[in-house]
Symmetry: C2
Subunit: 139 residues, 2 copies
DNA sequence: TGTACAATCTCTAGTGACTAGAGGTTCAAG
DNA sequence: CTTGAACCTCTAGTCACTAGAGATTGTACA
């Protein structure tokens, strides 16, 4: 079973330039080529790219994914760093959520103060941005 | 009252290269210079930069901030676009929160499956990333 | 007034994770 | 054998900065 890069792209929903980018970054092995120099992937390539896609969707960085791939290729090594990577990603996601929630509160308050009907000289959005004291919380 | 760029940076907690970047981007007016070509800011510059910092902290893009500044400088114009900008920023923040919450659930599950004690051949984190069927939800 | 040295200047290049486009070549169906 | 979709490489652009080189200036202290 052999796939062109387009076929691989369709199956994984990863765009073609992104696939080539992952190859450049060393996440994907350079696949075999046709005589005319076009990439031909096999099942292993498909699985590897699915792994990468899945990890990217979960917000892992390219660097973290590279580490995870090394672990995957050495099934005898301790997986403590895999666990560590996942936990720190989780911590990061949680801290982002916390921050965004505070932004949400602030923005909702801001937006409620202005219905867009007046002139900008009276606009609460602009006033609040200019004067931090109008904020309820620090951010 | 005159500030050097360093003093302005200290007061606003915006880094010096970032201040110069905002000037390049047209968010900050080019301030007066000393004879030796160093920037000297006044109160207006400080207030403008505080406005920008505040908006950036709330996640507004440079482009959106530029629009807000135009409105600020024309107090007679309708503020409907200010309201629109704030509302769409709010919508974006909310959609990010939703996405991150779903990632959080998935990552928590992933991390719980591996305590980091085993070898990576048995690692649930790696297995789950390789096989999407092990996920509870689509993402 | 001299001298250190911290602060500032401009400029280029790098970050992460792609995306867009130019200009050329190859594959596969009819 | 022809057509045209798909592929190739390469460069440059995105966003909002950040880092560093190499030169100049401002200021506090002796």
């Amino acid at each position: 079973m052999e796939f062109s890069i387009g076929e691989l792209s369709r199956r994984t929903r990863v765009k073609i330039p992104t696939i080539r980018y992952y190859e450049d970054m060393g996440l994907l092995r350079a696949p075999d080529r046709t005589e005319g120099n076009q990439r031909r992937y096999d099942r292993a390539g498909l699985e590897r790219l699915s792994f990468i896609k899945h990890a990217r969707d979960l917000g892992f960085s390219i660097e973290a994914i590279a580490e995870l791939i090394v672990l995957q290729e050495h099934p005898d090594r301790s997986c403590s760093s895999a666990s560590h990577i996942a936990l720190s990603q989780l911590a990061e996601v949680r801290s982002k959520i916390t921050k965004l929630k505070s932004l949400e509160r602030e923005l909702a308050r801001l937006a409620k103060g202005c219905d867009g009907a007046g002139v900008s000289g009276d606009c609460y959005v602009l006033a609040a941005l200019a004067d931090h004291d109008l904020c309820e919380h620090e951010h």
